[in-house]
Symmetry: C5
């Protein structure tokens, strides 16, 4: 996630970091050179004039904007849904921690509550690592008993297994008479929500926007942009490359941003800051349990990862 205050309106025109410009610049320069050569040759190809004018581009440009708008909205919805699910993870972790602290019958500073809080924190890290396809073991070993950590190493769906562990913890609390089945059901209800959270993340991660949309819109955007110079070379003259590159910048950059936020669990600049969120959840749970909060990392540059 890019964390940057809004600048003055004028200076914001020249922002480089946080802009997607550096990603699409090579393509735009290619288009610019292409446009300039078309101006130079006055829209001719081997002495053969390409007969195009602005009319079909106006007609189609708006249709293209509409379809790109659809793609963009769908991507943004995925991003925001993913963010909501991680927000629910924060809420639900706090609720479970509160239940462990207030209704479980264990004292606030008992070993049992500490174990449960650690399950919750380990769950968060395990989910992050699953979504980013990274190795969870270092984070898990730090927070769990070696035996459980060892068991988890062999397991494919680690967060799910941790929910089962929490269920067993609650079952044990019932068996030792700390809670009755009513409070067990109250815990269980929040464990159901954790299960929904894992599945929600897996759904977004495993089901991209149908691939055919990608191909179709990608093609349409680029063919459109590379035909544009022929349409405007006669009426705009040497201003054509400027105008065409400007229009192409908006279309191409919008597609690039949509591409980035479509997979919100990745590590590109506009993706979700899963690391920072894991740390934040860890901190708030530790604070609830009366434990010292870890120091927060100083952010380097503008990007939270």
């Amino acid at each position: 996630m890019i964390q940057r205050k809004n600048e003055n309106w004028f200076r914001m025109l020249f922002v480089w970091e946080g802009s997607v410009l550096h990603k699409v610049l090579p393509r735009l320069i290619l288009l610019l050179v292409f446009s300039i050569s078309i101006v130079y040759f006055k829209g001719k190809l081997f002495d053969f004039k390409i007969p195009l004018n602005p009319a079909p581009f106006t007609l189609f440009g708006i249709a293209l904007a509409l379809f790109l708008g659809f793609r963009n909205t769908a991507s943004y919805d995925r991003f925001w849904e993913a963010r909501k699910i991680w927000g629910a993870l924060l809420n639900d972790s706090r609720s479970l921690a509160r239940q462990a602290l207030t209704i479980s019958g264990y004292p606030r500073d008992s070993k049992e509550t500490a174990i449960f809080i650690n399950y919750l924190i380990a769950f968060t890290y395990a989910l992050k690592h699953q979504l980013r396809h990274t190795d969870a073991m270092a984070d898990l070993e730090q927070r769990l008993e070696p035996s459980l950590a060892g068991q988890l190493q062999l397991v494919k769906y680690k967060p799910v297994m941790l929910i089962t562990e929490m269920g067993l913890w609650v079952q044990q609390a019932k068996e030792t008479g700390k809670i009755d089945t009513i409070l067990q059901a109250a815990f269980d209800n929040n464990l159901n929500k954790l299960s929904d959270i894992v599945g929600g993340c897996e759904r977004i991660a495993s089901t991209p926007i149908p691939y055919s949309y990608h191909v179709l819109l990608h093609r349409t955007v680029y063919i459109y942009c590379f035909l544009l110079p022929f349409g405007f070379v006669d009426s705009l003259g040497w201003m054509m490359p400027v105008v065409v590159t400007f229009i192409a910048y908006t279309f191409v950059a919008l597609e690039a941003i949509a591409d980035e936020i479509e997979e919100p669990f990745g590590t590109e600049p506009n993706d979700m800051a899963l690391n920072a969120m894991c740390k934040m959840i860890e901190n708030t749970l530790l604070e609830m349990a009366g434990k010292p909060i870890a120091n927060e990392d100083s952010v380097k540059g503008y990007v939270l990862d």
Copy 2:
């Protein structure tokens, strides 16, 4: 579902597999030939000039794009809702499995929990087969006792009957004193959700977008595309077939994709990968129960079915 990494922006322009192009190509070639013949005859029909120009096409092209956008959004919403429902199936199955493993009072490796887990897996397969109108018996017989499998053969709504079986399993656990009515209610709550999942899938499968929309938009798209050549033959000359085919490609392909994902339970390339999802649910449930995971199929080509 087409599973394919995003290519380099340039190579993506020439992707063939995963594109919907091969489906609409014959129609586009027909239009191309039609356009070329119109260029050849200079927009005349038996020496009679068709008096059309770009103005009405601009006016109407944008309206068409808007209506197509509506159709497309409605189709995508169906696709995504179907995906959400199958995601809920995963979440709910895991929750029920966790309940069976932690609160039912049966040991983790008991015969009873194994039966319940098998009910859940069989439920998933039965739902898939119902939605795809295929025969569920092979998958059911593999996972259920012969007597129950035999009973199900005669039943029309198999997944619903399996939920009732799960309800009877829970009732038995209560009658044998394993759980009390509070935990029974907790199970029952998740069985209600399974019922919502079956019904949600049946709703999407049995209620397409109103047929009149199909007819109206289909007609409008094709009539528009086949009138386009007359409108641009004078101003674009021999470039007209290229431009018209390009515009038609976007409109026609968008309609084709919308058509495909509108029925997300089918077996077309952009439909949901129900087979892969069933296998995934089976694996995660078996893992929770401490059973060995089945090997995953190697995917052939880019398409998960």
Copy 3:
């Protein structure tokens, strides 16, 4: 609901049944005749040339498409919400039936469960008749005891009264010691949902899209279509009636479809198939209770009512 397989793209252009064309045809023919007479008189009215050109129509046509798109989306949302509510009715009926069969303590083939299942089926039919303003008594008498059916005859909100009856059934089960208050609350929770379903249907049926929208958009569409011929008579000549009728077809037909699905409980071709749904709910509930399924009607033509 029109139930019809998608045809080949070419034959779909000439579909008659299921299209809304037959409804709007008279208006389109009127417009066609009007346009032809304008071509004949070259846009003059008593030797007085109407000075119109395409520019304002382009400007306004797109605005019109946008507003029509809003109307259309609002109508479709109503249709889909109504469908969701009936889907929830299916899910909730099955859940209640499952509860009656598994947790109520009555044997599966007892008289009591049969009565409860009949309440659920009668509820479905009563709701359908209330929404379509038809007489429910025949369907109710077939499924309920004469005394209760007689009582219901005098009642205005029949489905609500049937929910109360179900509540009394559950209360009796508690009083005879079959269930405790915990399971009663689990039943009660599902009865709450039935109550939401009745109210949701009543809401959609009693609150149309604000009437002023209808009037405004209707007027705008028709005035626009009848001014169009003047705008294009000079530039399109004798092709003008064709083009104008084609554009008008899309606008007018879209408004007609939106009008039809806006009241989804009606009996027009694109409305919901309440009859078929009632029969389907009856079948699945009977199957759950181990009763024989009624034969399904053979559908006549393409329309499910």
Copy 4:
């Protein structure tokens, strides 16, 4: 709410009542006169020709339509959300009434259930009066005991206080041994929903669409409409006032409708029929309790208030 059957398509063009035309007519006449005078002076101001043409109006008209579409959708969503909340009030009232009749342990015709039903009815009226800033006392005194009605007179948030009264009623039922805490919790759950309903209505009533949107779009619509005549005076001649007034009618009327339904609890023709809904809720609750239904008012004209 305007309750009016859809007319024949032709007669609907001339509907007066239920149209928003009478509201915007003076402004349109002003614009018409302004346009005619511009035709008369041929777009000159003191012999100084205003150099405008259709191009910028096309460009901007579509942007304007888009922004107006946003405003309109936001208003309609508010209207529909308010309607949903009142629908939930109906559903929840029925659920609470059913609980009072079936699970409370009081006989159906006892004094206690009658009191509870009256609380529910009084709650509905109190909410209506709070939202419309009218005096609730007449309606409350008719349905509540004088002592409670007197207490409520001094209270600002009357509906909330009535929910508390219902909570006390339930608490009393528990203390007299009619229900246990499980059924009390079931009641309490529905009281939570009533609380959500009050707050939801207050939210919509107290938070309009941000005021700056109103000002910006209002200004843009009117400036646009009053500049239009200059843009089309040369190309449309004496037809310009007709076309301009037609376009302005759509824009201005759409803004007026959006304005009306944005505050759905008001008493303008397109606002929600709170009176009719209160009466309907009263009737259905009385019917459930076996009490005679009040006669419904005969609607005067087309407007339900």
Copy 5:
């Protein structure tokens, strides 16, 4: 929040307070001066004519409007979601207060209920201060016991800690036999909702719309507006600066409003009136508990903060 009655349509054209005009005026004046100088030099730069015409601006203006529409909708959705969450806070506080007053077993005027109500009020203020990054201690010390207030001073996530305190209060009520675990679970359920509310606010506050969108749309809007004068200088002459400034006003002001409401917890004029809402929640809770209501502030000007 700007609280202002809708004026007469004519006077609303000249509203100053509540309009975003004063914010964007300097930029518009700069553009106006720029446009006038271009008229003066007839679109030439050092005797070099800039060859631009309206065509590409029409094409691109509509695309720009679409993208701006997306940005605007996303901002408004954030605003409205934030408002819904604060609405849920009101509802949930009332529900918890009702539970404390009716089901907790404490008398209505006991010290314990007073403490719980104060927890709820303090929670609201703590949340406001966290979201606005202001110091909560003055508001907390006024409502909480010194010891608890002192503890909270060191705590980072104050609202979360207050929910835990409420959980302990409920736990104490259970331990002293006032409530059983069933009613404790009913309380706990509403505490879960409070946890969702805190997390929902934090989500909106900590996750802006991806920064790259800001940069891209900001740039596109301003470059477009500053190129516009060249496109229309030839066809509109001295009217060009008027038209260009008018168009730019709409685009730039819409972006400015979207910017303001995107962060709804701030203190800009169109942001949410958190202060007024805190006071309102305090009043309604005090009224429920039979305590005197604090006087409401007289609003100064049109802005509630």
